[in-house]
Amino acid sequence: MDKDIKVTLKVWRQKGPKAKGQFETYPMEIHQSVSFLEMLDILNERLVKEGKEPIVFDHDCREGICGMCSLYVNGHPHGPATGATTCQLYMRRFQDGETITIEPWRSAGFPVIRDLMVDRSAYDKIMQAGGFVSVNTGGVPDANAIPIPKKDADLAMDAAACIGCGACAAACKNGSAMLFVSAKVSQLALLPQGRVEAARRAKAMVAKMDELGFGNCTNTRACEMECPKNISVSNIARLNREFLKAKLKD
């Protein structure tokens, strides 16, 4: 049964991108049925009442789909629960008396903006380099014109479930964005619509990823284990395949 627990929060506070940050400690008494972000809401409400500035963190849909929330909680992106985002994390995952360390994503690709908020626009830039099928609105064939094997459609959907939250790069000891890139490359490479420009896409997205300073994948699988949407590293294998095929053809 859920009960009230006492926890100590160690939260990273940082005024701005260039400012030096440090941990602040906040004791909290909280009911276990409260969600993690609601706990931060309560803490922020308290801070505001004390005339202090609230902790800045990204969040929006609070149902695990928008990919806006982040937070590195006790050594795990999105906290200790598997297959869930921070907003889907509830306090019943924590024990009475526990100290909870909350940090921003730390990766050169995601500079800190303030407190726990980071800049993830690098992922958008990678998408802009090639994460699409080049079709304009209108003038497309009927949706059923190209049958797609269910297996391929399902695999594509598995990859497409990525929410672009950045947990993969945040979890990776190499700061690599391969899981994110591979999910999009895989999704579109698996479908006949995306097949047409698969080679171009793989090369462009990988080049952009490298240019933005993400690291080299060493297949530790940390990304996959921490991914809130359980995106598989078999997508990375497919990306490698697509990329190598494309390069060898050049």
Partner: protein
């Protein structure tokens, strides 16, 4: 050049050089097995691999393989550290399902290199190098079997050092083998688990036999 400029290109070089080194390990293992059964046969192999042009070319290629693997590992590690950013996490935890070896490949690789230096100083320096330089010690450079006995039979320090070396190599290979396959793109949902399993077997067979053979040398020396 995309093998240098692109992250997947660099990984490809690691993958291919790594697989090549695994092939070499298998070859070397065969030689050691020969030595267990017959020092004489082993010396025949040593002779065959003396200072002939093909042995020299092979050695150079092998050295190049090690060098490329090491240099790329260095580059990748430096780049990856940079990609990690300047600030480190205060609290870290290894997620379930992540192998310890996979996160410590560089350190494991360094141990392997140190072992390699020791090993080269024991054998290659006394054999091929000595023969090339024309400087001979007490033991003839072509008498590999005698060197084995010299360094291992009853020598607990060397034996332990070698076993440590092989354990590090085992960790390195458990991740390295499947990782190389993954980098080549030969993987999917079904083979993911299989390759990881095969990888453990490959590492265990190679390193296990090396360890067993080393212990045999420690106890018995080369085969009569």
């Amino acid at each position: 050049m995309w093998l240098l400029n692109s992250s997947i290109g660099r990984k490809l070089v690691m993958s291919i050089s790594g697989l090549f080194l695994i092939l070499f390990l298998l070859f070397h293992l065969c030689m050691n097995i020969v030595a267990v059964f017959s020092g004489e046969a082993y010396n025949m192999v040593c002779e065959f691999l003396g200072t002939n042009w093909y042995a020299l070319v092979g050695t150079l290629v092998l050295a190049a393989g090690v060098l490329v693997h090491f240099v790329y590992a260095w580059i990748l590690t430096m780049q990856n550290r940079k990609a990690r950013g300047n600030d480190r996490y205060a609290a870290t935890a290894r997620p379930k399902g992540v192998e310890w070896a996979s996160q410590n490949m560089f350190v494991l690789g360094l141990i392997v290199i140190l072992g390699l230096i020791l090993h080269l100083s024991h054998f290659w320096a006394n054999m091929m190098l000595a023969e090339l330089a024309g400087v001979h010690g007490e033991i003839a450079p072509t008498d590999g079997a005698k060197f084995i006995n010299f360094y291992f039979q009853g020598n607990i320090v060397n034996t332990i050092l070698y076993v440590i070396w092989f354990v590090a190599l085992w960790f390195h290979l458990t991740h390295g083998f499947w990782s190389a396959i993954q980098t080549l793109g030969w993987n999917n949902n079904i083979w993911l688990g299989r390759w990881e399993c095969i990888s453990k077997w490959v590492a265990t067979i190679i390193c296990g036999l090396f360890v067993v053979i080393t212990i045999i040398f420690y106890v018995n020396g080369v085969g009569a």
